[in-house]
């Protein structure tokens, strides 16, 4: 590969990272607006929509997805911690790396193809489940070790449920949106022909 092609890719990578970070942040704001009552703490909610982007970003963009999630997490953490504390940076790194672990292990277990060919609803459910599992276990282990949380389970259960439900909600909304747009396109093409 030439240096030129690397140079050409750089802006694309930057756009991907910025795009993922932006979508992550927007979903976080939407979650905050819609499901404030479901919040257990600042970082744990019984419904957590941005969890869907974690899995989708890594499925589509691999490490660029991780970079986008990390950037988005740090941007989201900044307003509350102000000083971008070491603790919030560690949580951001963990929450960005956990979907990579989930996708890697899921792809290994289900023998998913590199281009996602043949990916079905069942595999998506497994990825969503693994994403929720890895994220909740890793983050809550850190909370426990760092002394941030009093009990491991009280954080783990709502985070796992929140991530899984949040992912399903976003996937189903996307599913309905795709079906609706396909139906509309079909109707328009049948009207024009």
């Amino acid at each position: 590969m030439t240096n030129g092609s690397h140079a050409n890719r750089f802006p694309n990578s930057l756009y991907s990272v910025a795009g993922i970070a932006l979508v992550y942040w927007l979903l976080y704001q939407l979650n905050d607006w819609l499901f404030t009552n479901f919040e257990v703490s600042r970082s744990i909610s019984w419904i957590f929509l941005p969890a869907a982007i974690r899995v989708i970003a890594v499925l589509l963009l691999d490490w660029e997805g991780v970079a986008g999630l990390l950037f988005g997490s740090i941007v989201m953490a900044f307003p509350w911690h102000g000083d971008a504390s070491v603790n919030s940076c560690i949580v951001s790194v963990l929450s960005s790396l956990s979907p990579m672990l989930a996708v890697t292990s899921g792809a290994y277990l289900m023998k998913t193809k590199a281009d996602l060919h043949g990916l079905g609803a069942k595999q998506l459910f497994v990825f969503a489940l693994l994403g929720a599992l890895f994220n909740s276990v890793i983050q809550n282990t850190y909370f426990q070790l760092s002394g941030t949380a009093k009990s491991w389970l009280t954080g783990l259960v709502p985070m796992f449920v929140g991530d899984f439900i949040g992912t399903l909600i976003v996937l189903y909304c996307a599913s309905m949106l795709i079906r609706f747009s396909l139906r509309r396109d079909a109707r328009q093409s049948s009207l024009s022909s």
């Binding site: 690397h6 890719r9 694309n12 990578s13 989708i56 890594v58 499925l59 589509l60 963009l61 691999d62 490490w63 660029e64 990579m100 996708v103 890697t104 792809a107 998913t112 590199a114 281009d115 996602l116 060919h117 043949g118 990916l119 079905g120 609803a121 595999q123 998506l124 996937l171 189903y172 996307a174 599913s175 795709i178 079906r179 396909l182």
Partner: protein
């Protein structure tokens, strides 16, 4: 997939996007049924409720306003959508019975719920 640590190929990312969109589109919900499929399913539901079995050949002659070939095509699509299954007769394997699937039972239960709600309001 994550195995590769090199920067991604964007045409590959697009292919992944198409495959992911397809998987998202296929998330299980109640399949959308067209008018003929609904008509068939409703007629079968009445018979299933009376504990009567419905043979494929009978079904093809059951609807005066729908041609036998259309009924057959709709039986195929209903089967693909997971709403009916075809069960072979124990004595004569060539005779096939149309049977409801668990999804069809859920579909009618959901319709019943909607109807109850509509009556209640």
């Amino acid at each position: 997939m994550p195995k590769k640590a090199t920067s991604p190929n964007y045409s590959q990312t697009y292919i992944k996007f198409i495959n992911l969109a397809q998987a998202i589109r296929e998330l299980p919900t109640f399949p959308s049924l067209d008018g003929a499929e609904q008509q068939l399913l409703n007629a079968f539901a009445v018979l299933w409720n009376q504990k009567k079995s419905v043979r494929v050949l009978e079904a093809m002659q059951m609807f005066p306003d729908i041609s036998a070939s259309t009924v057959h095509r709709r039986l195929v699509t209903l089967r693909k959508k997971g709403m009916i299954s075809l069960e072979a007769d124990e004595e004569n394997q060539r005779v096939k019975y149309i049977a409801p699937t668990p999804l069809a039972h859920k579909y009618f239960a959901k319709l019943g719920e909607c109807l109850n709600k509509a009556i209640a309001t």
